[in-house]
């Protein structure tokens, strides 16, 4: 195992979703008719994205809905197979591992979802929700299971005596904690949190964010923290990636990104985010979103960008503009 290698690395992954052919199209297919609309039926959710997450890091991933951030998270977690590109765990390509090794690598990555209610089986008791996976994977014996679950519940701030309850008997914040306990049960190294605090009330959100930070210290966890909320990401992440239309447009250490955002989209995002300190501000209007997908070879933000120029018909590469700070914009050259 290569010690210097990132914990998880994605190399030039893409994910394309194709609408399944309807009956008419299949019928046409049987008669030898080639469907010419293949390109229209396919959505390129993630477009050639590379990403590395080092052990102990908290990487924030921000972007608006449809930017592909959840898809990228699911690829990282192994829930989606990328259409192209490779996935590396501790320096070894996951696709080339033996089945048993791959299962072990897979277990080290766990995911926490936005809607804890939907992610928990309503007919299972908490003891089974949390205790099933470690039993199946041989991490604990049947006899140890109850103690193991009690320990996990306490770790996430739940009352261990509630293990026999069902998910509906808990509040939203407590259900989020059950989801976290379930993820921790298989002793993961990397947690992928997809909008894990978005559905929570402000006061509960603070409690759960504090829990994430405490667990990071106690269990030396690494996080990929996906969120649309800039203030949350700013608080928890060491490094932030900004996604727009399936591509990473900017990435930098958190403080650097919030102080010196380079990409026009990041700047617009920071400007649009309401803050507690802004009093009676005039909300600036960003240009309309263009409903149709841009040409694949062009910069995705071109249609809304205040600085768009002819060059933008060419997709700008992600370049390092200062140490650790990457941006994909033609303006970077002139700066």
């Amino acid at each position: 195992m290569d010690k210097d290698a990132p914990l998880l690395e994605l190399r030039e992954v893409s994910k394309q979703f194709a609408r399944p052919a309807d009956f008419a199209a299949r019928l046409a297919g049987w008669f030898g008719h080639r469907n010419r609309n293949d390109a229209q039926n396919a959505t390129l959710a993630v477009d050639c994205v590379s990403l590395d997450i080092r052990a102990g890091e908290v990487v924030g991933l921000v972007g608006e809905s449809g930017s592909g951030k959840s898809t990228l998270g699911r690829i990282a977690a192994g829930l989606h197979a990328p259409s192209s590109g490779t996935r590396w765990w501790q320096g070894r390509q996951v696709e080339h591992l033996h089945a048993a090794q791959r299962r072990q690598a897979q277990l080290r990555i766990q995911m926490i979802f936005q809607d804890a209610t939907a992610a928990l089986n309503p007919r299972m008791r908490v003891a089974d929700i949390v205790g099933e996976a470690p039993l199946v994977h041989g991490l604990v014996s049947k006899a140890q299971r109850a103690d193991y679950v009690a320990d996990l519940l306490q770790r996430v701030g739940l009352d261990a005596s509630h293990a026999q309850r069902y998910p509906h008997q808990f509040s939203g914040g407590q259900r989020a904690r059950i989801g976290i306990a379930r993820a921790l049960a298989v002793r993961p190294e990397l947690l992928i949190c997809d909008e894990a605090v978005a559905a929570l009330d402000v006061s509960v959100q603070a409690q759960v964010l504090n829990l994430f930070m405490r667990l990071r210290e106690e269990l030396r966890l690494t996080y990929l923290f996906i969120s649309h909320d800039l203030s949350v990401v700013r608080h928890i992440a060491d490094r932030v990636l900004v996604m727009y239309r399936g591509r990473i447009v900017e990435s930098a250490p958190t403080a650097e990104l919030f102080a010196h955002a380079h990409h026009p989209y990041t700047q617009a995002l920071l400007q649009a985010a309401p803050t507690l300190d802004a009093r009676r501000v005039d909300f600036a209007a960003l240009k309309e979103e263009t409903p149709s997908a841009p040409a694949p070879s062009a910069c995705g933000f071109r249609g809304r960008c205040p600085h768009a120029m002819p060059q933008c018909a060419q997709q700008p590469p992600l370049k390092e503009i200062s140490p650790g700070h990457f941006s994909a914009c033609h303006l970077d050259r002139s700066r």
């Binding site: 608006e64 809905s65 509040s171 939203g172 914040g173 407590q174 009330d201 402000v202 006061s203 509960v204 959100q205 603070a206 409690q207 964010l209 504090n210 930070m213 405490r214 649309h228 800039l230 203030s231 949350v232 700013r234 608080h235 928890i236 958190t254 403080a255 617009a268 995002l269 400007q271 649009a272 985010a273 309401p274 803050t275 507690l276 300190d277 802004a278 009093r279 009676r280 501000v281 005039d282 909300f283 600036a284 209007a285 960003l286 309309e288 979103e289 409903p291």
Partner: protein, 332 residues
């Protein structure tokens, strides 16, 4: 309670709304009073279960059994809506008071063209011909910043993005030039940049037309930049209200102070966030007296009684142990 009586578009006095359940009576809205003036934006902030949406539904009288309005008055230009016969109330809804919901598909019919729905909304309240109603619909779409409004009239709701649908819902709300628009979390489901556009447009519309606005949200940051005045709700009651600037700078109620302090932007990155202990209790077993006292760091035995409203100018709070220190952020 008598300041600017002539200016108040809407005045809510001691509103009570409750649900009769098998486990007992749940007071979802408990003794809520506030007013909105012409051209003013009032933010109502609270967590889920605080009663903020039920306050809005009570004003519109959109409460179904087992819910019922148990007391209080809702005065629109002095006329009590609670006592209005249902037939007359229908003429108020969508005409003098419009409502915008979090999910625009609650407003829009998925199988009708935008034009059909908007013309129907105009003709329900005004005696105008179809062509004229269509012109009004097109103008309303243009006012909310919809590009190519004439083409958009022929479209169906599914052809729009979430932000565009919400704009259509806002345009429908504007059709009959209402005196008041109630917005229930209208931008919560939208992306930050789209939210910025809609906030910008609502702000401009209010300023230009003098429409009063009630903006219900769980997000203090949204009202911080948008609203003139702010009501903070907890456990069915307004626990603090006042000018936005003043409430945010010098919150008096420990709950408001806790909400502000637990926002990530008020904390040093990477450090533990300030947190309010516990979670919102079920409205069925709210503690007697101050609803916040079981979570409050300052609670004493006097809090078992409901505190009376204290005021200082327009700033109102209900607490026996109000905070005097302005909540400073840790880093400037």
């Amino acid at each position: 309670m008598s300041e600017n009586t002539d200016n108040a578009v809407l005045r809510v006095e001691h509103l009570q709304m409750q649900f009769a359940t098998r486990a007992g009576i749940v007071k979802a809205v408990n003794d809520v009073s506030f007013s909105v003036r012409r051209g003013e934006i009032l933010g109502i902030v609270g967590e889920s279960g605080s009663g903020k949406s039920m306050t809005a539904y009570s004003i519109m009288r959109l409460i179904d059994p087992p819910g019922q309005i148990a007391g209080g008055r809702v005065l629109l230009h002095g006329q009590n809506l609670i006592e209005l016969p249902e037939e007359q109330m229908r003429r108020v809804r969508g005409n003098r008071i419009a409502m915008i919901f979090q999910d625009p598909m609650m407003t829009l019919n998925p199988v009708l063209r935008i034009a059909t729905q908007m013309i129907e909304a105009v003709q329900a309240h005004q005696k105008v011909g179809k062509a004229q109603a269509r012109d009004m619909a097109r103008d309303a779409l243009a006012r909310v910043g919809m590009p190519a409004p004439e083409e958009k009239l022929a479209a169906y709701p599914h052809q729009f993005s979430g932000g565009m649908r919400q704009r259509v819902a806002i345009a429908i709300a504007l059709l009959n030039q209402p005196d008041l628009i109630i917005c229930d979390e209208p931008t919560t489901a939208l992306d930050v940049t789209i939210q910025g556009q809609i906030l910008h447009e609502m702000q401009t519309l209010c300023r230009e037309s003098g429409t009063a606005l009630i903006w219900i949200t769980h997000d203090l940051a949204v009202v911080a930049g948008l609203a003139d005045r702010l009501c903070v709700m907890y456990g069915g009651r307004i626990v603090e209200s006042g000018a936005v600037r003043e409430v945010l700078r010098q919150p008096r109620h420990p709950y408001t102070a806790g909400l502000i302090a637990s926002s990530p932007s008020r904390n040093q990155p990477g450090r533990p966030l300030h947190q309010i202990a516990g979670s919102m209790p079920s409205l069925l077993d709210l503690p007697s007296g101050c609803p916040f006292r079981t979570r409050c760091p300052h609670a004493t035995e006097v809090c078992a009684a409901m505190p009376e409203a204290d005021t200082q100018g327009e700033h109102m709070w209900r607490c026996f142990h109000p905070m005097h220190q302005p909540a400073e952020s840790e880093h400037g």
